[in-house]
């Protein structure tokens, strides 16, 4: 849970609009680029009711999705959620059973992979082992029958782009993992496709290199002005790079939104739990007094007080989701109105350097998680094992989710 907002700032800032109607500045809003909110904008790629089955397994289940020109779009989900199948259908390696995929308004049905104006960067990179780096990059250009001079010029351009000019004559097995990844990238963008598909592009890299490459990919996308579609199971990767994320689950889309939207206003328990850590409280709406709602829950004697965004009518069973970093922990009872305060005991402490995660046991053996940034190097009285603590959160920290 480090700095999810450290991404691009190139597109300026604009307040985000939470889906509850109330204008909230949520998270780190980075960009005013939002063609999906513009009714006049036409999507580059449109999935319409697309389904795909393999035997008795439904890989993709009635997915509709628009991706706009210039967007960096992420398909995020655990393995087997259908994200890769969705991408492979766009590349032409799988055929949808039902539904339609259009690219720039043109129906892709029946168009073989080699005639589709998209290029893919494969998870395994799929570099041709018998060809040198420059021949790999030239492969796609050769198929177009471009003149030799033009091909070599473009290959040099690509080699410079990925800083591999010195390695032009090497074979793929003489390269490191990071270099292979860059060759694969150069090969995929060499043809200037309308859209670049990236299948787990950073999966094989170590953590440091992965972070660097994330920013390189983002810069590259802006530089090339290309539309990127990335498939990943790594939420941090998706959050850092993407303009919008589609969180997938069992072949369906659980939620689509900007990273800060899916993180701060998850649509359901699945999204809340898949992205980052979350404490979920089973609750029932007891009263709504705009702008506040009161929820009855076992953990809170006088109930939880939260904003009434998207809150169903009183009597409904709901879940209250509160992120660990939005909770406060103290050795003394917090001052204030006493709402949203729970007393408990420290059960476990996980120190990661920048953050400390406290697992707090509430009465009834209920464990919750509280994260605190280690903003100062020294504290007067550190919180230790078996300490009695108070955990509290602000009314706007919780999200009411349908049960």
């Amino acid at each position: 849970m480090s700095d999810q907002g450290a991404g691009r700032t190139a597109r300026g800032k604009a307040p985000a609009k939470a889906n509850g109607g109330r204008r909230l500045n949520i998270g780190a809003v980075r960009s005013s680029f939002a063609p999906w909110n513009d009714p006049a904008a036409s999507p580059l790629v449109r999935f319409e009711g697309v389904s795909k089955r393999f035997g008795d397994q439904t890989a993709v289940d009635d997915v509709s999705l628009d991706i706009y020109p210039g967007e960096f779009f992420a398909l995020l989900g655990p393995s087997g959620c259908g994200k890769t199948t969705l991408m492979r259908m766009l590349a032409g390696f799988e055929t949808p059973d039902t539904g339609r995929i259009t690219l720039a308004g043109e129906d892709l049905a029946g168009v073989p992979p080699h005639r589709r104006p998209v290029n893919m960067m494969f998870q395994s990179y799929a570099l041709f082992p018998h060809l040198s780096v420059e021949q790999n990059i030239a492969f796609g250009l050769k198929q177009e029958g471009l003149p030799k001079a033009e091909i070599s010029e473009r290959v040099l351009e690509m080699l410079d782009l990925v800083k591999l000019r010195a390695f032009a004559r090497r074979k793929p097995d003489q390269l490191s993992g990071g270099q292979k990844q860059r060759v694969a990238l150069a090969r995929a963008v060499a043809r200037k496709p309308k859209m670049l598909l990236l299948d787990e592009p950073l999966g094989a890299l170590d953590k440091k290199l992965r972070e660097e490459t994330q920013f390189e990919l983002m810069d590259l996308q802006v530089e090339l002005g290309m539309t990127f579609l990335i498939v990943t199971h790594d939420q941090e990767e998706a959050m850092v790079m993407a303009d919008r994320i589609a969180v997938m689950r069992e072949g369906q889309i659980a939620q689509i939104g900007r990273p800060e939207e899916v993180y701060e206003t998850p649509a359901n328990r699945y999204v809340a739990e898949f992205l980052g850590d979350v404490n979920l409280f089973t609750a029932k709406v007891s009263s709504i007094d705009h702008p506040m709602a009161r929820l009855a829950a076992a953990e809170a004697a006088d109930g939880f007080y939260v904003l009434d965004d998207d809150c169903p009518p009183p009597g409904t069973d709901v879940s209250l989701a509160v992120r660990p970093e939005k909770m406060r922990i103290s050795l003394e009872p917090p001052e204030g109105d006493g709402h949203n305060v729970m007393a408990g005991e420290i059960w476990d402490i996980g120190y990661t350097g920048d953050w400390t995660n406290y697992i707090v046991e509430l009465p009834g053996e209920r464990l919750i998680r509280v994260a605190r940034a280690n903003a100062s190097r020294f504290v007067e009285r550190p919180i230790g094992w078996d300490d009695k603590v108070w955990v509290s959160f602000d009314p706007d920290a919780g999200v009411v989710l349908p049960e």
């Binding site: 590349a91 032409g92 390696f93 073989p112 992979p113 080699h114 005639r115 589709r116 998209v118 290029n119 893919m120 494969f122 395994s124 799929a126 570099l127 041709f128 082992p129 018998h130 492969f139 796609g140 198929q143 177009e144 097995d173 090969r187 995929a188 043809r191």
Partner: protein, 297 residues
């Protein structure tokens, strides 16, 4: 720390080579320098082990290159070498043309079917080579299976037995597994994602075959060709059983010289020259194998 001596197990291949290659070769080479004689064994000189150094000297004086001289002087043998190489080259090319599609189709089958097909390719080895070649006599003879089949289809008879074509059929049939197996091994290993990558980069399937599948299978093509070519050059059973007087092959000549003419020195000289002819392809094959091993590491 460098160990000056290789481990004992590393010596086993050398011992093997010494016992089964170098020693027999030296014996054949020594034979080729001898002269034919009406004796048992049918050549002179023999080493007189009791004669000491003088005996050894007499033995060495008795050795000469006469057999090689006769070999070079006789057009028949030069022709036999050339025709063997031509037979083997044609047979190898035919085996490649037949074997590549076979291996390709096998490698594209479902894993279960692949094992079955692989079994079928190896199955002929369960029967004696000689019997299998004899079987071709039964197929190719004028009133044989082939002509019976052609007759049923209303096609004219062909007279293949004892022609060069029959030898070629026999060679291709016998050595086809040696072509198919190495080809299958490389094709089966090939990453299918590479073909997807080629398609993604704009290459239609037939072009992908020539740009990706085939160049990547070259080590297998090379291994298969050498594995067919080398034994085909020296083949003697097939030309003997299926070939006529027109299908001259050097292996058969060696056999004739050894067993029909009982001219052991001359037969040995023919064999030594054959080995020298084949050294180049054998070295090429060895280097290829080493390269393949290193690439697989």
């Amino acid at each position: 720390m460098k160990s000056p001596l290789p481990r004992p197990s590393a010596l086993i291949p050398y011992l093997w080579l010494l016992l089964f290659f170098a020693l027999p070769f030296l014996m054949v080479f020594r034979l080729s320098l001898s002269d034919s004689a009406l004796a048992i064994p049918p050549y002179t000189p023999q080493i007189d082990w009791g004669g000491g150094l003088a005996g050894l000297k007499a033995f060495l004086d008795g050795l000469d290159f006469d057999a090689y001289g006769r070999l070079v002087g006789d057009r028949l043998y030069v022709n036999a070498y050339v025709s063997s190489l031509v037979f083997a080259a044609q047979g190898t090319a035919l085996a490649l043309l037949l074997g590549y599609p076979m291996a390709y189709a096998m490698a594209r089958c479902k894993p279960g079917a692949r094992n079955l097909l692989l079994m079928l390719v190896i199955l002929p080895f369960w029967t004696s080579f000689l019997i299998r070649v004899y079987a071709w006599v039964g197929i190719l003879k004028p009133e044989g299976l082939l002509n019976a089949g052609l007759g049923l289809l209303g096609l004219p008879h062909v007279d293949l037995l004892y022609t060069p074509a029959a030898v070629q059929i026999g060679l291709v049939y016998s050595y086809l597994p040696f072509m198919v197996l190495p080809l299958y091994a490389v094709l089966e290993k090939q990453d299918q994602t590479l073909l997807e990558a080629a398609a993604d980069l704009g290459s239609p399937p037939w072009k992908s075959f020539w740009q990706v599948t085939f160049p990547m299978s070259l080590p297998g093509v090379f291994a298969g060709c050498l594995l067919c070519f080398i034994p085909m050059v020296g083949e003697f059973v097939i030309p003997d059983l299926l070939g006529g007087p027109g299908s001259l092959m050097i292996g058969r000549s060696i056999w004739m010289e050894f067993f029909a003419n009982r001219d052991w020195p001359f037969a040995s000289a023919v064999a030594v020259v054959l080995l020298i002819t084949l050294i180049l392809p054998i070295i090429l094959y060895q280097r290829q194998q080493v390269k393949a091993l290193e690439a697989g590491r």
